[in-house]
Amino acid sequence: MKFLENMSFGQYVPSSSWLHRLDPRTKVCGLILILTGVFMASRPYDWLIWTTLLVVCARLSRTGLGFLFRSIRTVLVLIVITSVLNLFFAEGEPIWKWGFLSVSREGIELAWTMALRLALLVLFANLLTLSTSPMALSDGLERLFSPLKRVGFPAHELAMMMTIALRFIPTLIGETDRILKAQLARGADLDHGGMMKRVKSFIPVLVPLFVIVFQSADDLAIAMEARCYRGGEGRTRMKPFVWRTVDTLSLVFCAALIAGQKILNWYVG
């Protein structure tokens, strides 16, 4: 469970910053808009727009930039691999050769474009999870999808499932650790052997874990019933979402940035 505390990737940090107080729906839609913009970006000044926005948002969420950039560490490997692949295997006139590896101008451009896009994607997504509690996030998603309830989409149920899953992740990590160690103490050998043997050797960890999970689910269902839960009908919220002017303005601002970027591209080239 200790490693969970170590992760700054995807973690929620409570605060009452400007970003925290935005409606979760704004932040989700805003993220989608921003990512659209990021993936349309190609010119240096495009990156300037989005990186500035990132820093501004980070400031508005009262997060240290250091904390935010540490969250990249988890996906750094992925970004580096993607860049390298793009660098060497993109189409185009080679400007440098070494053996069968060739680097073209297009390759270089593609490499750092992709790297920047991925980095910005991760950083903006982290700003979302950082400033929105899992509960608020799932509530927000539920609200966004609730019009679909009319066609039978189980928005509330999915949101509740997401909340409970998030709630139990640390618990279950702890249980897995305990069961794993218990079987190791009984001589389990999880490091050696071929594919089949290794998979089989995990059964003594998976079966007990499943039993625990089902028992927990059972207990939780009873506890929820005892607290008068009966699905999404008639449920209110302690922290209801109030759509404020600032929410509308934020979304308009993001859309404006995209439009601005497009116009700049067109004019400046």
Partner: protein, 283 residues
Amino acid sequence: MIDGLCHIYHENTALQAAALEGVSLSIEKGSWTSFIGHTGSGKSTLAQHLNAILRPTRGSVSIDGVEVPPDGVRTKVDLRAVRRRVGLVFQYPEQQLFEETVRDELAYAPRNWGMREDEIRARSLEALGAVGLDESYMERNPFSLSGGEKRRVAIASVLTTKPEYLVLDEPTAGIDGRGRALLLSLLDRIHRNGTTVVLITHDLEIAFSRSDKILVLERGRSVGFGTADEVARMLHASPVPGLVVPDVMSAALVMRDKGLRVPLTCDPEKLAAALLRERRRRS
């Protein structure tokens, strides 16, 4: 034999947290040692070092002369062999059951060690006997047993390899008076048969009434290691948060303060008898 044991989780990261620091102790063969301390004091972490499930960040752990290499060091030492000699029963051990029959459950550990099937059967029956269950349990489904029976089967599954040392992490957690008494008599029997017992427990009554030596942990450090009497007096003089001396022993300590010659015991009968002797002595 554990010397200057130091186990640090996440060393050199932003969230460094020392689970254990500078813990030293030696456990004699055939003895009963108890580890006590508040939740999070490092008792379970220490226990997991005794059979090399965890390896020290600093310091050394040696079991029967075999030294456990520190974490991160590639080693030729067969750590699994250590686990054969030092059995470790985790908290709520009934949760580790997974086989379809008790027979297979008991055979899991010996099979991992490559024992012959006929030997496995003999050892399994012995282990069942040691926990007070008879042969009729062999073909039953572990999941159909009662909570108490499940726990005993789980303990038996660690006994099949006849470990010389048995480490138990809170074996009496979550069970009622009757179950507790049963489990204790079981442990007493195992101990009498020569197994070295190491008990991690919150139940200070058990620790004080049975231990040759008690280790007191607080926030990862050892704040005391001695006989039950020594530790009881230490806790009375300088209380450790999270550790409450059992009622009867606490009363005995108060009486001692008043100058009465009474043993430091958790047994009401013994204390009462001692007080009656005191009264006769004084009159």
